[in-house]
Subunit: 221 residues, 2 copies
DNA sequence: GAATCTGAAATCGTATACGATCGCCGGGTG
DNA sequence: CACCCGGCGATCGTATACGATTTCAGATTC
């Protein structure tokens, strides 16, 4: 049978996929019975899936009211990006000595494609490449707990992520330059602390750019 | 009615309490029906509670077999302490500028009690005070996501924690000295990076001491 | 016209029931 | 004697059922 198993897992994957892909946008109301019907299961496994997503902060839950995809206001964005800067910076540093020359080459290729695409800028495509780039640098992190936190951070921001670069296109250009600098550090086997600092600041720079933009937008309105 | 709410939450608190307090030791098998009977509820809320604990890595789960309190072998301990060093270091740094003089005073009092108790050393008591001390320093962290990760790390190590100091009593002495150094940095409003590094290294030193002890023990056997 | 009440619809919360799966133990077979 | 196999008990997985709670529209009152 192809139906390997476990409907709770099925529901979990289903919902998570839809959140990360942006089909369920923040605030979208997750009605148990509806999802259960869509999947052809009862509500019980769906409830369990939602509990897990709740513990991962992907959905919020209110007793007797229900679940909805976690809202991501400016404050939540700040908290999440700050946390991601922390854990991704560390993961990148731990991963750095283990990154193979082949991975460096591939990362550089991705970054060069990103640089070329700066002229005819497509935020969504750029965002995808951005993840691919960073993925190559942190995936070798030998501490699975840290790596898991990194993935959770990216997941949480996944559907919003386009907008960071679409709102602040200038940041994309700087970002590509910082990527190249980061690659050089890794190539030359720089001190882990230096790599960590560079990776962390790369992300906080994006955060700062976004916040500056938000501030400006608020003044505009 | 006193029974304010939600049996799923009740089960969650109940199980977590028992894990953290050490009544359910690592490997302890969590049988749904048993726990449900103890609480006077059905298995459904208990299952949900276990799903959440699973997402927090406090319990492991195997389909059709059941849940058990997460085992903490040397490798898991390493991963968890390393992660805690990362997030607690950062939380302490973010918290530092917000720590009040009163909190510093209380932290110093706790640390002096720890110092006094070094002569007639009680690992369990020392461990409790150790948490109280660090709590005072990181609880003002303004980023709730980071703070939550810190709490999860401590929870995960809670029942094991005695043994760190009971196995490596020499570490307790150094620990008290490092606490005082950390307090001085906070008092003088040191650079956040300096505070972060000090707090992180404080924890990695404990980890290193434990690993050295483990290594030595392995050679002894 | 605004505030409040009322009841129905939507949705959640939990109990119960029963089929499915796993692990173990005892008996058969080479 | 070692190995395999079949059945049994324990436990999980999920569906269904129904009571509890929230929400909101529409009527009612001041």
């Amino acid at each position: 049978m192809t139906a390997t198993s476990n409907k709770s897992q099925l529901a979990y994957d289903f919902i998570k996929q839809r959140i990360v892909s942006g089909r369920y946008t923040p605030g979208y109301r997750l009605v148990l019975a509806t999802i259960a019907a869509e999947l052809g299961v009862s509500v019980v496994p769906v409830r369990e899936a939602i509990r897990r997503l709740e513990a991962e902060r992907l959905v919020t839950f209110q007793r007797n009211v229900g679940a909805q995809v976690a809202m991501l206001d400016e404050r939540e964005y700040l908290y999440t990006m700050q946390t991601l800067a922390l854990v991704e910076g560390y993961a990148t540093a731990l991963s750095a000595p283990l990154v193979t020359p082949g991975q460096v080459r591939r990362a550089r290729e991705v970054n060069e494609r990103m640089r070329e695409s700066l002229t005819h800028f497509r935020p969504h495509e750029f965002t995808r490449q951005n993840f691919e780039f960073h993925s190559l640098l942190f995936e070798n992190c030998p501490n699975p707990h840290v790596l898991d936190l990194v993935h959770r951070g990216w997941d949480r921001l996944a559907n919003l992520r386009d907008s960071t670069f679409s709102f602040v296109p200038g940041r994309a250009h700087e970002s590509v330059d910082e990527h190249e600098r980061l690659l050089r550090l890794i190539e030359q086997g720089a001190d882990p602390d230096v790599v960590e600092r560079a990776a962390r600041e790369h992300r906080t720079h994006t955060l700062d750019a976004f916040l500056a933009h938000q501030g400006a937008r608020l003044l505009d309105d």
